[in-house]
Subunit: 296 residues, 2 copies
Amino acid sequence: MKTNALFKRSYNQALDMLAGAQVGAPLPSEPAMAAALGISRTTVRAVLAALATHKIITIDGRFKQQSRLPKRSDYLADADLEPLADMVERKFMAWLVGPDCSPGHTINGLDLARQFGVSTSAIRDCLNKFSHFGLLERQSNGRWRTLGLTVDFVAELFDMRELIEFRAVARFVALPKDDPLWSDLSILEEEHHAFLADFDRRNREFSDLDHRFHKLVDSAVPNRFLGNIQGVMSVIFHYHYQWNKKDEVDRNHRALNEHLAYIDGLKSGNPHKARDACQAHLHTARSTMLASINPG
Amino acid sequence: MKTNALFKRSYNQALDMLAGAQVGAPLPSEPAMAAALGISRTTVRAVLAALATHKIITIDGRFKQQSRLPKRSDYLADADLEPLADMVERKFMAWLVGPDCSPGHTINGLDLARQFGVSTSAIRDCLNKFSHFGLLERQSNGRWRTLGLTVDFVAELFDMRELIEFRAVARFVALPKDDPLWSDLSILEEEHHAFLADFDRRNREFSDLDHRFHKLVDSAVPNRFLGNIQGVMSVIFHYHYQWNKKDEVDRNHRALNEHLAYIDGLKSGNPHKARDACQAHLHTARSTMLASINPG
DNA sequence: AATTTGTTTTTTATATAAAAAGAGCAGCCA
DNA sequence: TGGCTGCTCTTTTTATATAAAAAACAAATT
């Protein structure tokens, strides 16, 4: 069954609140408490019911009041909290790019579940997700095999990305001058300049800016199948570069300047100039990624 | 609990093998049977035990022999012979293109589970899969919304398909003449002619031929991200056209001839001719699909 | 009218049971 | 020697039942 860590945590938080209040004080309404604790009203009601059972509060109709101060022994053993799927994804990516996993390896779901401290179902969901990203493969016997962050994978990923982004660039330069994308682009351009001016402090936030920039360009040709490509790009940049901090400053600085040239190209209205700037940037990105995978 | 569909399928396959052999003939060894059926020895042993229970074979020490020919009634019901995920997928697609579902509709997982006679987890897996195909969307509150087989969807799907296939065509015509893909193409060309000669009878099997042809062309540029596109194309053709039999004969006949022109184009080695033939075919396919969605 | 409370429905995560796979080993036979 | 059998036992995958949490709905109160 599902663990009730959230309930326990919320119960303890409620005790903390009561410890700071006076006996006889009325409690806030259920929706107010739900908002204060950041949980659903269902859970608030469960907490209130438990508090009443332990005679810490009394509930009379819709009027709730504190009947005594909470004691040390009232507290429940605590647990921590993070969206489960995110936690599994994070640990899995760390495992995938770490030394315990080599391409072609068969994945032991049970073992991963034990390592990560979650159920096998959570692992299963995660594996399903990454199989759509092309990082894993299902074998005939139902087992999973890692394909890993190989040179081939990066090559195919960037091939696809170029194909899509070249097309978007061609469409983008041809947009009417009153299209809202142009003003979005200008805003992003200014953000780039602001970023460069404050580069030393903000350098770490670059991946977000990069993601938003490419997303804007690609939005010139709306297509829901891009989601997969963008998703995997985003995941890889997010996780892979966490383990490759070397040359990060140079890498980001160069990419920023390439983005600005790219934006110039788009604004020029000249399809060839725009395409060349795009190609130059994607080429750098590809080389950077390949170099960081294959330092040899 | 886990279904034993694999066991049932294997049991029926074993019956097929026995039906083709003679009474009194010795059976192959367990590992040999496991290899032949593509299953583990554990399952082979379960099948052998069941066959012995039904007196179809006799097991005497290490010597197994057939004691009688299998009868029609020996076969296990094919109701739950299909892998669960496939069954759910089939029913879900039928529901999605059926009258009970309109685009923008919120999906009730619990209700679908009841309708299909499976657990909510199976539904969850299926929804997850189709969300990667772009037919569904996750809402902020964790619910699912159908996007449906709309005109927009088809447009985006075919845009992406053209992008990929044009690139594959350019690569294909430039392949060296001794590349194995050329002989694969010739084999497929002959299959097309055979198909045309026996069109009235085989007409229904066209979607398989179509799928194999496009897969061959696309294989000129190996890229694992194609999997999604090909997957959704395949799913849509498979399910959607089940409900749109109107004009099927004309549609398939025309597509066959376009394929042949397309193959000619590839074989000519002229990139423009090949591309034109490809474009013509994809254009027809797009119109056909749009017409069948939007008969108005 | 806006908010609070009581109730029901739906989604999410895990524990669990069964199926299938796989490993190990002694004995047998060509 | 090398492969097969006949066991048994462990591991892994898969599907479901079920509890927890969230959300939606409906009635009641201020």
